[in-house]
């Protein structure tokens, strides 16, 4: 661990939860607890769970709540060092060398150039290095980390455990402040043990009834409590079915917004049937849900 300790950002678990609520993110006990611990233990958080349950939003909300800058690294297949950590600005280096040729007449030596072109002005920082070098508080979001190959994962290890980046030409850059790191994963593959070991693990599942209702009430302006209640009950019912893809929280919110826009006051089977396509994205799922929710086939 580096010496760059920082005063804790959060006073208590309750403070985390209240703070997140202020930015309209409703955390349950587990989420708030793990965020709090991550801050105290200076460890990254690995967030897993079904799509659309607010994994990415958690990082954004924590940044917003603590007034920190959010630095985001979107992972994809083929992500490499030069996109994640740093890169030398070749073009600028080239220019520097060419301009040196002009200077050489004036008696500059090669050593000077070499020293010069591998120095900070020629370094392009990428998200990870940027998060390490930032002087202000930073929240680093490494999104969908399961998309990179196992080999690339190793790139992250040094940053995550020691909060430092080694650049052969420059030496080791150590964090001036320890960023709060969130990694999200959709679990398309098993992450390596080494990565998991360095992180706190947080699984965000679909919220329970009460929490989802609160989320709907907080996120959808002008919705009646009664309607919200019905919506989350029907969504829970649909999640109980065997579908290709279950409705996520974001889809619940979309559905709630749709119903508010349509001026619906109470959801009955007919309304549910006509608007199910907002909630479900596969035709076979819609057909199945329609059948199970009762009433004749649509149209």
């Amino acid at each position: 661990m580096t010496d760059a300790a920082r005063p804790p950002r959060f006073a208590s678990i309750a403070a985390v939860r209240d703070g997140l609520r202020d930015v309209r993110y409703l955390a349950d006990e587990g989420i708030a607890g793990v965020v709090y611990l991550a801050d105290r233990l200076l460890k990254p958080v690995l967030v897993e769970g079904p799509a659309g349950t607010g994994k990415t939003q958690l990082a954004k909300s924590v940044a917003e709540m603590s007034g920190a800058r959010l630095i985001r690294l979107q992972c994809y297949e083929g992500l490499d060092e030069s996109k994640a950590l740093y890169e030398w600005n070749y073009k600028k280096q080239l220019l520097r060398i060419q301009s040196q040729r002009v200077d050489e007449a004036a008696g500059g030596s090669w050593e000077d150039i070499e020293e010069d072109i591998f120095s900070e002005p020629f370094l392009l920082t990428r998200p990870l290095l940027e998060a390490i070098r930032a002087t202000e508080p930073v929240v680093l979001l490494i999104d969908e980390v399961d998309r990179v190959e196992v080999e690339t994962e190793a790139l992250l290890l040094e940053v995550l455990s020691d909060y430092q980046v080694s650049i052969p030409e420059l030496g080791t850059v150590t964090a001036t402040q320890i960023p709060l790191v969130f990694l999200t994963s959709n679990n398309t593959r098993e992450l390596s043990e080494a990565l998991k070991r360095r992180c706190l693990f947080l699984h965000i599942d679909y919220p329970d009834l009460d929490r989802e209702r609160e989320i709907v009430l907080a996120r959808v302006p002008g919705i009646a409590a009664e309607l919200a209640e019905q919506i989350v009950r029907i969504v829970r019912s649909i999640r109980g079915m065997e579908l290709k893809k279950h409705p996520s929280v974001s889809e619940t919110l979309d559905w709630a917004r749709t119903l508010v826009l349509l001026g619906v006051e109470s959801v009955d089977a007919e309304v549910a049937r006509d608007t199910l396509h907002v909630l479900l994205k596969y035709q076979s799922d819609i057909a199945k849900a329609t059948k199970e929710l009762g009433g004749p086939a649509p149209r």
Partner: protein, 492 residues
Amino acid sequence: MTTVVTGGGGFVDVLSGFVAELRAAGLPVSMTEHLDAMEAVRHVPLEDRLAFKYALGATLVKNDAHWRAFETIFDVYFSLRASGFVAGDLAAPEDGSLAVAETALFDAGRSAADVEMAGLSDDELMALLFEALRDGDDELLAVLARQAVDRFAGMEPGRPVGGTYYLYRTLRHLDLDGVRARLMASGGRAFGPQSGDAGRSDLADRLAREEFDARIERLRRQIEAEIRRRLVADRGAQAMAKSLRKPLPEDVDFMHATQEELASLRRAIQPLTRRLAVRLARKRRHGRRGPLDFRSTVRHSLSYGGVPADPQFRYPRPAKPEIVVLADISGSVAAFARFTLQLVYAICSQFSRVRSFVFIDGIDEVTSYFDGVEDIGHAIHRVNTEADVIWVDGHSDYGHALETFWTRWGQEITPRTSVILLGDARNNYHASQAWVAQELAKRARHVYWLNPEPRAYWDTGDSIVSQYGVFCDGVFECRNLRQLERFVDHLA
């Protein structure tokens, strides 16, 4: 933060015991994680049970599928301790604070309500239970759960009976099915639209039923927890945790899985096949470099002033994998077969060219049954009822099934085909016709055999797996998810 756990010897021991139990249950907890957990609990207030639990969970459990096992062990070690047990177990003086906190916790749960309730008759208790379920009064339910265990479980100290026995006795007295029916009759419309129109109330009924089911399930869990709490007090945490030990989802044997375990297996299969697809796709894209791509190289050279500094290569266009699955669906592997069919279905959804066959002593193609079906149950039903797999007597005959396969479909096996055979190779002493496996191996790209039996049973009795196995690229024991995963990794 009010109380901070000072790393006293007693607490360290309890946590070590806890970690040892996690490891015994099969969770991979490393040394670092153990230390992290020690560090983490310093930062959470001890009386906040939930925070304490999540602190341990976040540091020790790195796989969601293991959460359930963790929760059970946590309950045994930390939540359910009765006061007497803690006092005895943590006698070390520096842990006085811990023991006191534990005692207070336990006593706080037993409120005046318990005392009051002890005076009620059984019928009155049932009436109260009904009301609590109807109104969703969780606090009252917790008290009622304790009360019910007091009265109906008939627990005797030192009796070597499992918790399920007591649970069964308690639930039998409560008659929750009857309660559910009465709940539905009384307040069934409370949660849906208020309209009295009979045609529309299906939805309301469904929602009400689910709500009541959820509440009854909560009650059931509370009763179960209460019984465990008492058993822990009686026998000690270690013995209790041991008796509750269950295999992790990836270690559940396909052949002996319970209904509930099968459901969780089914959920686990989907990501596994997705992973398989992702892996194959990646393999295909990042394969060996092909010949120089002249056009692209010239295009890229422009940024270097016409010097081809960055040669581009053409990647070989990979063939799409063709998969042929042959699955035994006879009685001896029935549980496995159901699972196999789910696997086949999952594979079908990821790969475009999959052909599936099922056999007992005859063989039939069932590819079309899986085509575009949304309900796997439906497809399995069709396979079981419509597929023509019985030739003589409906006892497995691998020899005849393979021979028939070879004569009818053998021509369609190409060097791009991977053949996967699923079965225990218990041939009822028929002729093996192993030459078919040899021919398959000659013609196909790969032939794999997955056997749901433990390796120790292979080639005992009428099992002739090695007669086929010598011709296959690999014979794999495939009894649980972990082994299946290993096979997938091998394949990709």
